[in-house]
């Protein structure tokens, strides 16, 4: 199986003393759908930023598509945890989605027909094409989230990184959102991080836990002991994985 992302013994510090990631090892392969859970402040966003080359590790090696992240990140679709503070911001949905194509051309060039076609396709995929002329700030949080997914998909990435994508999406929309991700998975490896265990659905095929240290067995199982170590409090295991089980059978 083709290895897309490889992190080897990665350590990250903020302000030289606060440790954010502690010796993280991680390999992500083609067609993976990896869910990473962990408490707030556990380093989930930092991990994504390391993969994107936005945060430099103090120690360790990061390889994306066999190269340094700065060179490979144009093949990554990034859906940040984004809050639009300015509801009046002068950009339409269409403008925002096209921003995902900016890296593919020289400075000062106009958007090509190919760019526009990709934007139409991406908007249709997330079901937001009818909203293309709407001002971005006038959409609901969930709608904005879908536009951000379209913005990430428009560059036809090989890897999709999603930071807390369910935060703005209400429960009834989550299933639909996961179906979209499931559909994408045949072409794109997906990494999704969330602090909310219940947001990781049955669709993910691998699961990891992160609280500075990463617990990952390249599979879909985590133990109660690991979870307790990560969340630093007793965790009651409620398996919601039917037909796929995320947590080991328990309850004796």
């Amino acid at each position: 199986m083709e290895e897309l992302i490889k992190l080897k013994d990665v350590w990250v510090y903020y302000d030289k003393s606060i440790c954010a990631l502690e010796g993280v090892n991680l390999s992500i392969y083609k067609q993976d759908f990896l869910g990473i859970i962990g408490p707030n402040g556990g380093g989930k966003t930092t991990l994504l930023k390391v993969i994107l080359g936005l945060v430099k590790p103090a120690q360790g090696k990061v390889e994306v598509l066999g190269d340094v992240p700065e060179k490979s990140r144009k093949f990554i679709g990034y859906v940040p945890q984004f809050v639009l503070f300015d509801r009046d911001f002068p950009a339409s949905v269409w403008d925002v989605v096209l921003m995902g194509r900016l890296g593919q051309r020289g400075w000062g060039k106009r958007y090509s027909n190919e760019d526009k076609k990709a934007a139409v396709e991406a908007l249709k995929k997330v079901g937001m094409f009818e909203f293309k002329d709407r001002q971005i700030g006038k959409l609901s949080g969930g709608e904005q989230q879908r536009v951000l997914v379209a913005r990430a998909l428009v560059s036809q990435p090989k890897i999709l990184l999603l930071d807390e994508p369910m935060a703005n999406i209400d429960t009834s929309m989550r299933a639909e959102f996961y179906e979209l991700l499931e559909e994408l998975r045949s072409k794109i490896a997906i990494v999704l991080v969330s602090h909310d265990l219940s947001a990781i659905s049955i669709y993910v095929n691998k699961i990891a836990c992160l609280n500075r240290k990463l617990f990952y067995h390249d599979s879909k199982e985590i133990t109660a002991k690991e979870l307790e170590e990560i969340y630093q409090c007793p965790i009651e295991l409620i398996a919601h994985g039917v037909p796929h089980r995320v947590l080991k059978e328990h309850g004796k």
């Binding site: 302000d15 994107l52 936005l54 990140r73 144009k74 990554i76 990034y78 940040p80 984004f82 300015d86 009046d88 911001f89 002068p90 950009a91 339409s92 403008d95 925002v96 096209l98 921003m99 995902g100 194509r101 900016l102 890296g103 593919q104 400075w107 000062g108 958007y111 001002q135 700030g137 913005r151 560059s155």
Partner: protein, 273 residues
């Protein structure tokens, strides 16, 4: 109004007001949507050092401001991107450093600095033709750069981190934007002076931001609004003999208040959208 145009100083003032409106209409929009109002204020005040340098070297002080404001723009940009210092701290320090340097330079220059007040608070009625040429050149530079980097600047203002990820060289783009702000300040010095520059950089853009959600229209509206504010301010100051820069600023703020009241009754809104 027509008969006062027979004076050359009045024609120059009018042209200067329109040239300044083009620059601040375009760049003011970015200052407002990228939220760099205080960075721009810092650059403007730090440019005072350039005025002093001009006096010291015996050249047109406005020419002295060009390198000085660009240096302070890059200084603020580089320090805030490369160090962990909070941006507002950097701004505060460069702001006063530029002004202090200006005072020292003026003190060192021989004789007396005659129209210093005009550079601080504007003196649109004394704009020489050479400054009109300089302003036109700067306008052309600003328009061409924005024309070329329009999409990139929009992405930079909307979500800088994402733009970096897709491969836009955001760091350089940000520096370029700050340099354009610096050049705009140079264009505005003759009109409202460095102390009052922020009014024309923020008021027209923030009104037009509420009128439209299209960036290009927003620029056109801002250019129009700042022309209206500066020309009517100029006219009022001439008629009742007030300081021109301060009158333009007060007319702008007055315009903003009237607009806000109108918007509350939401009449004007329905007309535009």
């Amino acid at each position: 109004m027509i008969e006062i145009l027979q004076y050359e100083f009045m024609r120059n003032a009018l042209v200067a007001a329109l040239l300044a409106s083009v620059a601040c209409g375009i760049i003011g929009v970015y200052v407002v949507i990228k939220r760099i109002v205080f960075i721009s204020g810092g650059i403007a005040h730090a440019s005072f050092g350039g005025i002093g340098l001009g006096y010291l070297l015996g050249v047109d002080p406005v020419l002295g401001v060009v390198p000085f404001s660009i240096a302070s723009a890059l200084g603020i940009g580089i320090i805030s991107k490369k160090t962990n210092l909070p941006e507002d701290t950097t701004i505060g320090m460069l702001w006063v450093m530029g002004m202090a340097l200006g005072v020292i330079f003026i003190g060192l220059s021989p004789g007396y600095a005659p129209d210093l007040f005009g550079y601080l608070f504007g003196s649109i009625l004394t704009v020489p033709f050479s400054d009109i040429i300089l302003m036109s050149i700067l306008d052309v530079i600003i328009i061409s750069v924005v024309f070329l980097l329009y999409k990139e600047f929009l992405a930079l203002s909307f979500d800088e981190e994402f733009a970096t990820v897709v491969g836009v060289p955001t760091k350089y783009l940000y520096f370029i934007l700050l340099c354009l702000v610096a050049l705009t300040i140079v264009v505005l010095i003759r009109i409202v002076g460095i102390i009052l520059v922020m009014a024309l950089l923020t008021v027209p853009a923030s009104i037009s931001k509420q009128l439209t959600h299209n960036l290009k229209k927003m620029m056109v509206f801002s250019i129009f609004l700042s022309s209206v504010f500066s020309v009517s301010g100029l006219w009022i100051s001439y008629e009742i003999n007030l300081a021109s820069g301060a009158t333009i600023v007060l007319v702008s703020i007055g315009g903003f208040l009237i607009f806000s009241l109108f918007k509350k009754s939401s009449l004007i809104f329905k007309l535009f959208i």
